[in-house]
């Protein structure tokens, strides 16, 4: 199960000194991290299970510097890994021992707020929440709100197509960005989209979003900003079973109501949260659902009564309705703290991220319980219930022999279960290295080859973030002439990780 990365290329390692010399001509000394101790700070992202010491860390501040570094990497045939705030949960920005780590944290300026056109141009290192902060004075905000929004960068959001609590109604990153500036592997700078809608040709803006840093390096993002809803109110609903909670969620959508957010937690998470920071969650409930309704006062009041009636009809054992903003935030407090709360039960946990057709939730949870019992590990569940995106938290103790490997295996089995019911491996965290070796569960060899060919269109030497997303190494030149017959795996001579 242990992750295998492509072996460091001796040709690259032997060029390190020459590379650093060339980088010094592009960047000031303070923007280059060469010393081993200092490089340690960059050895992993939020997927802390695996680490690697980057060859060198480059921290550019201008698009020209990024372009020069990319051109240099192409010229010297050196790998390069882009990194935003390093909050990736899938190892998307995990460094390579034979790769430059391109840290974009210095690209931290809001370049333009264009209220007239309801958009903002920002640099990729700007934190997600900082965008909303920058426009809140005029009552605007940026809708996608991943849980890590206080730390994660918009460039990283683009790389992973980050979601959040409000996606069901307001969409993911891909639905909320209008334009990108991207530096390609040879150093070429292209602009995709802008302040207008839709593409004049192939939708490369859509393709770039969620491409996990494998196609290009984002140096500027144009985001849509929305006026904040006039009112938001929350219902806190306890259910006697997860099935009842899941049924309720389906009933709400069947009634034509699309809430601003609809989140669910299982018993284990409810108890962890209440121990961590009591916020009035019902301890007798097997499932807790938080529903947020937003819009105008009249509409919200109406929808609150509709959802409340559905909850009662579906057998809710607890119903609380927020009557003011403080209460609404109180209802959310526990959900926002769910991850740190769970880490108080166990020092280590793996946060998974599958999406399933929502109606299959009860059977997936039953399957998850069976897997947990078999592995002798505990699992706590937090879901974006409205869109079927699950976040099972597998608790383990890394100090106990073999427990991490068991947790990893359990995570894989859960994701296989998600795929088997028509779901997918990742809803918002990305494939990265974490789920790379599961891609074959969802896609055929031919499906994956087509995706890899798309990468070749951007990165013919496979130098940009290699070893992520795809479970096989490949050479672009051979793709064009490839024919698969009789189900034979392509490139038997190339390593499969």
């Amino acid at each position: 199960m242990t992750l295998i990365m492509p072996a460091p290329e001796p040709d690259i390692l032997s060029q390190r000194d020459a590379l650093i010399e060339r980088l010094r001509a592009i960047l000031p000394a303070s923007n280059l991290v060469v010393d081993e101790t200092a490089r340690r700070a960059y050895e992993c992202d939020a997927f802390t299970m695996y680490r690697a010491l980057p060859l060198v860390v480059a921290l550019p501040e201008t698009v020209a510097q990024v372009s020069a570094i990319m051109a240099l990497a192409a010229e010297m045939n050196i790998k390069i890994v882009p990194r935003g705030a390093g909050t990736s949960l899938s190892g998307g920005s995990m460094p390579l021992e034979d790769g430059i780590l391109l840290g974009m944290s210095k690209f931290n300026r809001v370049l333009e707020i264009d209220y007239e056109n309801r958009c903002a141009r920002v640099q990729p290192g700007v934190q997600n929440l900082a965008i909303s902060k920058a426009v809140e004075e005029r009552g605007f905000y940026y809708a996608p709100d991943p849980s890590s929004q206080i730390a994660c960068s918009i460039g990283g959001n683009v790389a992973e197509n980050a979601g959040g609590v409000h996606c069901l109604k307001y969409g993911l990153t891909t639905n909320n960005i209008l334009g990108l500036e991207v530096v390609l592997m040879g150093g070429e700078i292209v602009r995709l989209g802008g302040k207008h809608l839709d593409s004049e040709a192939y939708d490369l803006l859509g393709l770039m979003t969620g491409s996990e840093g494998l196609l290009g390096v984002v140096t500027e993002v144009t985001v849509r900003i929305l006026q904040k809803p006039a009112v938001a109110r929350c219902l806190l609903l306890g259910f006697p079973s997860v099935d009842a909670g899941a049924h309720f969620v389906g009933a709400v959508i069947a009634r034509g109501v699309i809430p601003g957010g609809m989140e669910m937690m299982d018993r284990a998470t409810i108890h962890a949260v209440e121990r961590f920071q009591p916020c009035g969650y019902p301890l007798d409930a097997e499932a807790l659902v938080i529903v947020e309704l937003d819009g105008t006062q009249a509409e919200v009041d109406l929808l609150v009564s509709v959802v409340d009636a559905i909850a009662r009809a579906e057998g809710a054992t607890t119903t609380k309705i927020s009557t003011n903003e403080a209460e609404r935030l109180q209802f959310w407090a526990g959900r926002k703290n769910a991850f740190p709360a769970v880490s108080c039960i166990q020092p280590d946990y793996l946060c998974m991220d599958g999406t399933i057709p929502r109606g299959r939730l009860p059977e997936v949870l039953a399957g998850m319980d069976a897997i947990a019992k078999r592995e002798g590990l505990q699992v706590a569940n937090v879901f974006h219930a409205g869109d079927g995106n699950l976040h099972p938290l597998i608790l383990y103790d890394a100090s106990k022999e073999g427990e991490m490997a068991r947790a990893e295996k359990m995570g894989f089995d859960i994701l296989r279960l998600c795929v088997s019911v028509g779901g997918v491996l990742t809803g918002e965290h990305g494939v990265g290295v974490e789920k790379r070796d599961l891609m074959g569960e969802m896609f055929t060899e031919i499906d994956l080859e087509q995706q890899m060919r798309v990468k070749c269109a951007f990165d013919p030497m496979n130098r940009l973030n290699p070893g992520k997303v795809f479970p096989t190494l490949h050479r672009c030149a051979e793709f064009g002439m490839m024919h698969v017959s009789g189900g034979a795996a392509p490139f038997p001579d190339l390593p499969r990780f």
Binding site: E116, N117, R138, G139, N161, C167, L168, L172, V190, R191, G194, K195, H196, L197, D198, S199, E200, A201, Y202, D203, L207, T209, G210, S211, Q227, K228, P229, A251, I253, V257, I258, G295, T296, A298, E299, L302, L303, T355, P357, R358, G388, G422, V424, T426, G427, E428, H429, V431, M439, M442, F443, I446, D447, L448, Q450, Q451, V454, K455, A457, F458
Partner: protein
């Protein structure tokens, strides 16, 4: 019109794969066609043979509670909409119907065709385009390989989002065989607030103001005096409000209050008139009825009016126009010219950023003039490499989007 074209009705993906592989081996281009409603869209570069999806029909999955529908690519849009309507649901991106522009039967398109051209209507500004509603697809690439991408769930970042790439690709990358779409509840009701008595610039400015309020306006358009379907003697700004009965009326009132200082007179289109009005705008009614060449410009909302002013300065003979998407989408009808006034139109757009697409012109003009907005060389080269990653021999819809793609 294209009588010489030989059409093969494919029964399944394997048929398409075989036909495409054979065509690739012989370096023969192949067209891709559904109901043929978009034959006159894009560059005029007909292939001698084409693959038709009209036998690939049927909704294969529909779960209203899951907000998801899958259908074979040749399924008539009409069937999809009827089924959704019976369940109080809709395609929120409001696919525009090309019948008014090109003639022919209304709602005759296939669902695959809708995706192939990213057909979206007035609600696009709030609810997204076709590209935002394609969750996954099965296709046969220009290599003759059967490929799937995406899935059937709302949140999915497993692999590249090829759904975005194939949407609006005019069949040049792959022949879609099955599509899976996100569907959404239909609003209980709708009304449209009309603002009268303003000049064009003021009217469009009010659209933008409305888009900055929290009244959840879902469509924003401006019609010049005399334009169908309203045919008023003065300019009209129109704002659509959708939702539950109780909230639509209060939001309309709140919106009117917020825009009162504009000096406009207000009127309201009730439900049926409102729905009919936006359907007509979706299908470009204000320009479609004029006989001339039709352009569709996409710019930032502030720049639509500016680009049009610049175009007027060149003396371009504008027969009709209107604005959608809060001023960012400009539909134009111009007196016919051999070059379709492309240099002037594109220069007007390029001054601000955005793109201009020639929608309606003769075959001859669409063979000679670039229909889609030219790209800077690095982007054009990248687009070509992307095309070749799916279709290295340029078999599918050769020349439909660009002379070189």
């Amino acid at each position: 019109m294209d009588a010489a074209i030989a059409t093969l009705d494919i029964r399944d993906a394997a048929d398409a794969a075989e036909a495409i592989r054979a065509a690739a081996a012989r370096n023969q281009p192949l067209g891709v066609i559904g109901a043929g409603t978009k034959r006159r869209l894009g560059r005029h570069a007909p292939s001698p043979r084409e693959l038709s999806t009209r036998a690939l029909t049927g909704v294969t999955l529909y779960e209203p509670e899951e907000l998801v529908l899958s259908a074979r690519a040749g399924t008539p849009l009409r069937d999809v909409l009827t089924l959704l309507d019976a369940n109080g649901q809709q395609l929120a991106f409001e696919p525009l119907d090309h019948a008014l522009l090109f003639g022919g039967e209304t709602c005759a398109a296939t669902i695959g065709g809708v995706i192939a051209v990213n057909a979206s209507g007035p609600r696009r500004i709030k609810a997204g385009a076709a590209r935002d509603h394609l969750l996954g697809f099965h296709c046969v690439t220009g290599r003759g390989e059967i490929v799937k991408s995406g899935g059937r769930v709302m949140k999915n970042v497993t692999g590249y989002d090829l759904s975005k790439l194939v949407t609006g690709s005019f069949g040049t990358l792959a022949l879609l065989t099955d599509v899976t779409l996100k569907v959404l509840p239909k609003a209980e009701t709708e009304q449209t607030l009309l603002l009268l008595g303003l000049d064009e610039g003021q009217a469009v400015a009010q659209l933008r103001r409305a888009s900055g309020t929290s009244n959840e306006v879902s469509s924003f358009a401006m019609l010049p005096a005399g334009a169908a379907p309203l045919c008023r003697v003065e300019t009209v700004a129109a704002l659509r409000i959708e939702g539950p009965e109780v909230s639509v009326a209060t939001r309309r009132d709140a919106l009117a209050a917020a825009l009162r200082d504009s000096g406009a007179r207000f009127e309201t289109l009730p439900f049926a008139e409102s729905a009919a009005f936006w359907a007509a705008l979706r299908d470009a009614a204000p320009v479609a009825g004029h006989s001339g060449q039709v352009w569709r410009l996409s710019l930032a909302p502030t720049d639509g009016v500016r680009a049009l002013a610049r175009l007027r300065e060149t003396g371009a003979p504008i027969l009709a126009h209107f604005y959608d998407w809060a001023g960012g989408l400009v539909w134009l009808c111009l007196e016919p010219a051999a070059d379709a006034h492309a240099p002037a139109v594109r220069a007007a757009v390029d001054a601000f950023g955005g793109h201009a697409t020639l929608i309606r012109a003769s075959d001859e003009t669409r063979a000679r003039v670039e229909v889609f907005h030219p790209q800077p060389p690095p982007l054009a080269a990248l687009s070509r490499r992307v095309k070749e990653s799916f279709d290295p021999a340029h078999v599918l819809e050769r020349g439909r989007m660009r002379a070189e793609v």
